[in-house]
Symmetry: C2
Subunit: 232 residues, 2 copies
Amino acid sequence: MTTLSPAVEDYLKAIYEIQSEGDQDRVSTSALADCLGVARASVTGMLKKLNAMDPKLVNYIRYRGVQLTPAGEKIALEVLRHHRLIELYLSEALGYSWDEVHQEADNLEHVISEDLEDRIATLLGHPQVDPHGAPIPDRDGNISRREEVQLTQLGIHQPAHISRVSDHDPAMLRYLQELGLTLNAQIEVTEKAPFSGPLHIRLIGTEIVHALGRQVADYIFVTLGSTGRKKS
Amino acid sequence: MTTLSPAVEDYLKAIYEIQSEGDQDRVSTSALADCLGVARASVTGMLKKLNAMDPKLVNYIRYRGVQLTPAGEKIALEVLRHHRLIELYLSEALGYSWDEVHQEADNLEHVISEDLEDRIATLLGHPQVDPHGAPIPDRDGNISRREEVQLTQLGIHQPAHISRVSDHDPAMLRYLQELGLTLNAQIEVTEKAPFSGPLHIRLIGTEIVHALGRQVADYIFVTLGSTGRKKS
DNA sequence: GGACCTAGTTAGGCCAAACTAATTCAAGAG
DNA sequence: CTCTTGAATTAGTTTGGCCTAACTAGGTCC
């Protein structure tokens, strides 16, 4: 474990994230470039390096995109574990709100020691999910996969609860917060406007209905039925 | 404030530390190289850059060493504030012992945001010193200077308390911990062996006496008289 | 004053990670 | 089957931070 550079960790993390949110297993150079905010040529260069490393971290084929190898995925999951534990820690211990944690965690994730990670995990009681509902991998790189669907895929009047929200846009997170569309909120779709128009979302148990644009709705994931928890 | 690289921050911090522990105001290239663990030539190169930056961060003259400019000192103090707040936070909130905090803080100090720094400072009640007794600069770069002397300078039977210990050697910190020579310990020197031999240190209120080598004693600073606190 | 030593500097290179500009590939349209 | 077009790659630079090796400034000792 020859201690990787932050850049390498970021590439692996990005590949993992794109890979797991889209449904194709290969990730394109441009998708990565956009996600990381660097030029395409830079991505090509880095992918060649990752492909040549020992152990091989990705499976890269010219013009065909990349896949993580098991070794690469392991590292991606470690970084993700750091990221999500830090997000949760910042929110639990230091009073950060869910729109503030992401940026700070991106900086911290590459520098905390395994020891600090363990202490944080223990202090938090080995939590399963971060403040946005994303699952936290365990130390061995196991990650729990839940049966989630995109909010846009949810049927009309099908009760569900918000189980996860993308953490990438703080402004959107603040917006959702204001609407009461937070983690575990019980909701149903009452109407889907055609031509990719807005979704009408009702908070179950209330008469509150919000119209949500598709772009926003795409970043929200739900699980059918209610959450285990009682309402307070 | 064009966000400086970790390397630059480390150079400035090191210059500040050497400058404030030695009594000459100019820091030599070699002292810096040793402190940072890089080659001399690398230091020369970096000093030229720091000297050419706008604003000028150091005052560097060939063959004469460097000094921090006010701008450089301000940055050094910000880094030091980060470092020491993190050390204290790790020890207070996450159960780190005083020999473990330094390494972790060295990694974290370059990446925490001002916001996180503020939250930590507030949570800790705007503390004055870190776990090794080093003063924590305030946000404006003011640092309290106390009247400390090296333990080796302390007169025989002159009662004093340990007010600061160098944080650089974890093994030494563990050793001192075992001997009960922790922060604020009330001590006196009962005997100084000649020819740079060991010092005999008595813990006031006990019969416990330890013989301490000069190298170790050089890293310990004391303040005359007792600390404000009562014994528990 | 010349010889000598050490700290400090210059010169020249290396590596990682980015960039731009120019070229090549792949895959769908006609 | 060829053409076109957008995605991807190559080639060539740049920048930052480090290295080694070779040279120089300045002080010490006889």
